[in-house]
Symmetry: C2
């Protein structure tokens, strides 16, 4: 017998899979129920407000998965530049293995639904904030001042998001690799104060 | 009496407006016809392959409008850094005046439809390529070597695309302004060769 909450988790995981592949509007409630294997009644039980509520939960879950990935990579990385390189390699590998059918797990939903749905927009803001906080923390560990680390981290998340669109359209992970390489150089320069030669 | 092609243009313009605001899947053929004011028969006449064909034409048109905007700003700008600043101000202003309901005119369509539809993906590649070519040309005029100018220009387009998602979700143009300011600094640094003091 399914444990409490198990169906809820299966529904949200199915929503993440379907939204990232085919988008929010193109995915119906019935398809989410079928893909999750949960009985349709449990969908209405856990998400009485319907699809928008599933959308917000999917953005939140996907945001947490990415944040956890960044946290795990931080254990391996020896600098913020290294972290962004490892992250780019992982993103590129994921996209390649899905033949570029899977994109960022939240961008499509956000672009489609965020302007009209505040709960989805709020879930998106939390996700972006958690991701840039992870990069900021890595930059601060490198010795980059807090404020500058925050700016660079937000900028990096924007650049990576954009590169995922380019990769999807170009059917190639090159844009992701080039973007994270560029960011790695910025991160390395930021930790190195300019040496003033002479006086 | 409508001139030849006038209905076609009205249909594609309506599609750009609707797709950028509400996405591709959420926009039906009937809504495009109604918004355009063109008779529905002309929609089938000009786009016998249906909605995907309108999607590709909309991405192409939106790409051309952005490229023309960049071209016009290049006449005003006195450097690539200045160009990207002016462009960021314009994008932020557009988004603010739509209360963040309008986003990038092509990103949503591309994320939703590009993996499955090669004509839409191709239109997206052409648009990204035209935009980054405009920035690359500005960088080359600043004295940045061609290859480096191309890398920086592609990177900048990715970062700007990502900042548009952040702006839409955050209901604020700050992300666009911060991103284009950061890019402006990169562009300025790229034109200035590092002076070697001493030898």
């Amino acid at each position: 017998m399914a444990r409490k909450g198990e169906h809820r988790a299966a529904i949200v995981e199915a929503a993440v899979r379907l939204f990232r592949r085919q988008g929010y509007a193109a995915t119906g409630i019935n398809e989410i129920a079928a893909d999750s294997g949960a009985p349709k009644g449990s969908l209405y039980h856990y998400f009485p407000a319907g699809k928008a509520q599933i959308g917000a939960a999917a953005v939140t879950l996907a945001g947490e998965i990415v944040a956890a990935t960044l946290g795990a990579l931080m254990q391996e990385a020896d600098s913020a530049a290294d972290l962004v390189g490892l992250y780019g390699a992982k993103l590129g590998g994921w996209m390649e293995s899905s033949h570029f059918r899977d994109g960022c797990p939240i961008a499509t939903v956000l672009l489609e639904a965020a302007p009209a749905d505040e709960a989805i927009a709020e879930a998106g803001r939390s996700a972006f904030s958690a991701w840039s906080t992870a990069l900021r923390d890595a930059l601060v560990l490198d010795g980059v001042p807090n404020e500058r680390a925050g700016q660079l981290a937000r900028f990096a998340i924007a650049a990576i998001e954009g590169s995922l669109i380019q990769a999807r359209v170009g059917h190639s992970a090159d844009a992701i690799r080039e973007t994270t390489q560029e960011l790695g150089q910025m991160f390395t320069s930021a930790r190195r104060p300019i040496r003033r030669i002479g006086r």
